[in-house]
Amino acid sequence: MMSVCVAGAGTIGSLLAGHLGRVTDVSVLVRREEHARALNRDGLRVSGRADFTARVTASTEPADLPVPDLVIVACKGSDLEGVAARLEGEFDGATVMTIQNGLGAEEVVAARGAWPLLSSVTFMSGTRHSDTHVEYILDTETWIGPNRGTTANDARLVADLLDTSGLKAQAFDDLRPAQWSKLVFNATVNGVAALTGLPHDPHFAGEPLGDLVHALVDEGKAAAAASGVELWEDPWEMNVLATQRGSAHSPSMLEDVRAQRPTEVELINGSLVRAAHAAGVPVPLQETIYALVRGKEAGYSA
């Protein structure tokens, strides 16, 4: 069985490490000593859609951890540069998989080492109750595709591992259509949620906010088409479906803004706007959201 190191144990990292810890050897790279001690002592509890506690090995130093077959970089996009820098020169021989929102996480990691790379995006969600307890809330899929030096078969092996551990995963020959669908969805929904304070609720499909959401999605679709990407799913339909779930989800960018933390606006909205410009597609409304969220970050604790 493929051994795994999860780098970054926020909500997504904890959900991955906890589930995978049931079926294979899992190590966790964290930032705080106290977090590492707690995980080594208590293991990692997953509640919600499952209820179990998995043993994991945790450290703040990559050199203290065994070299795994697979590294999943699961930190937030806003921490990616720092985590990628700590992996430099480590884990030779492992394959590294990114799972961040937006575009460009693979390039950030690629710049730090020659590892074979996999791309992924995830739709699962949870709530992190403590360093050693995460609640699994939305059991939606993680999508995996090949990147530098890997093949669709490598993606399939990782998807199978996630499935075996109790998560849901799907492998793609080319992740870009799925990645772009999520990019357009996130740039729109996360941005609008962060600016309005609304969780992802029926306002996003109604009047007048739904009109704006629709126009933002249309700009994103035009940028995708001009970038040669045929979207896997229609982001507008993803939006409508998600607002009909009943329990409104607070997108991470809204949570970040509420807590006055740096958001993933650069990897998400910034990537979309830059890709659109590179493709020569005007995206004035997406630029508006991007500028406003960046302005909101600049206004923290003002």
């Binding site: 609008v192 704006l212 630029e287 508006t288 991007y290 600049a298 206004g299």
Partner: protein, 303 residues
């Protein structure tokens, strides 16, 4: 001359207390706040700050107590116009009613309830410190003009003259839409950006991406004004850059930001919503104003 100020908040109080200085003007004030009304009736209406003035006037929360008036000056927040004029219209059966409110559409609302309407735009500002006492923050000009042919310019000139003599410099012009649209475009292009980001006016303007957004909103507003043959009396761009200077209004928190922080309904429907409405009517697309309007409506819906 008998004048009733309808909505005696900060701006209404500036008009009421100053007009009450004149021997030939009897001032009434209609306001929803019983505490404010009681304090005015007991001790007069006091202004301090940019000017020290105490005015003696008749204040009431009971619209049926108002006598017939020659003029009304409506100074409520835009979303309260309809209820305020519906309650007080009887006092203006033979009079003229001026709006000095923010935004677009207030004249139309007044005209549904009274015959003769005066369009107006005012720049002085202040805030209520306590019942009966208003801080006068900024002095400034007011411009008034007839709303339609039922209001002759001479009638507007009489009201402007009274305001000016009372200490509120006021001009009467044949077409007051220029100053009105200049102020609306300024407010619609800056206030909601402050409200959505939490940034002061100066900090919005020093971020190139946000300043570009402000410029895009201004351009749409100008196009909608031009489609109606409205000649702006100044370029909102110049006013925005002027206000962004350290010694002018760099640290100013837009009133809409204050509204959002206090979770009070904003005037977005009458600013960006108004520009978008006129844009649709005149066939001018306003995608940025539409977007900003929808975002602030979303903020209001989140409370």
């Amino acid at each position: 001359m008998r004048i009733c100020v309808v909505g005696c908040g900060a701006v209404g109080s500036l008009f009421a207390a100053n007009l009450a200085q004149l021997d030939d003007v009897e001032v009434w004030a209609y306001d929803a706040s019983q505490a404010h009304v009681d304090a005015i009736n007991a001790n007069g209406l006091r202004l301090s700050g940019a000017g020290e003035v105490t005015g003696r006037l008749n204040a009431t929360t009971d619209a049926s107590a108002l006598p017939p008036c020659d003029y009304g000056i409506v100074a409520t927040k835009a979303m309260h116009t309809d209820a305020a004029i519906a309650a007080t219209a009887h006092a203006f059966a033979d009079g003229y009613v001026a709006t000095v409110q923010n935004g677009l559409g207030n004249e139309q609302t007044l005209a549904r309830h009274v015959e003769r309407v005066i369009r107006g735009t005012t720049f002085p500002a202040g805030k209520i410190l306590e019942p009966g006492h208003v801080q006068w923050d900024v002095k400034g000009d007011t411009t008034l003009g007839p709303y339609d042919e039922r209001t002759p310019l001479e009638v507007v000139e009489r009201l402007a003259d009274a305001c000016t003599r009372g200490g509120m410099p006021t001009k009467a012009v044949a077409d007051a839409r220029g100053p009105q649209w200049r102020k609306v475009i300024f407010n619609a292009s800056t206030n909601p950006i402050g409200a959505l980001t939490g940034l002061t006016h100066g900090r919005v303007c020093e971020r190139p991406d946000l300043r570009a957004l402000v410029g895009g909103l201004v351009d749409e507003g100008k196009a909608v004004a031009a489609a109606q043959d409205i000649v702006l009396d100044a370029d909102p761009e110049d006013l925005i850059d002027h206000a962004a200077q350290k010694h002018v209004a760099y640290d100013h928190k837009a009133s809409m930001l204050q509204d959002v922080e206090a979770k009070r309904q904003t005037e977005i429907d009458y600013l960006n919503g108004g520009i978008a409405r006129f844009g649709r009517e005149y066939g001018v697309p306003t995608p940025l104003n539409d977007a900003i309007w929808a975002l602030v409506k979303g903020v209001e819906a989140s409370w």
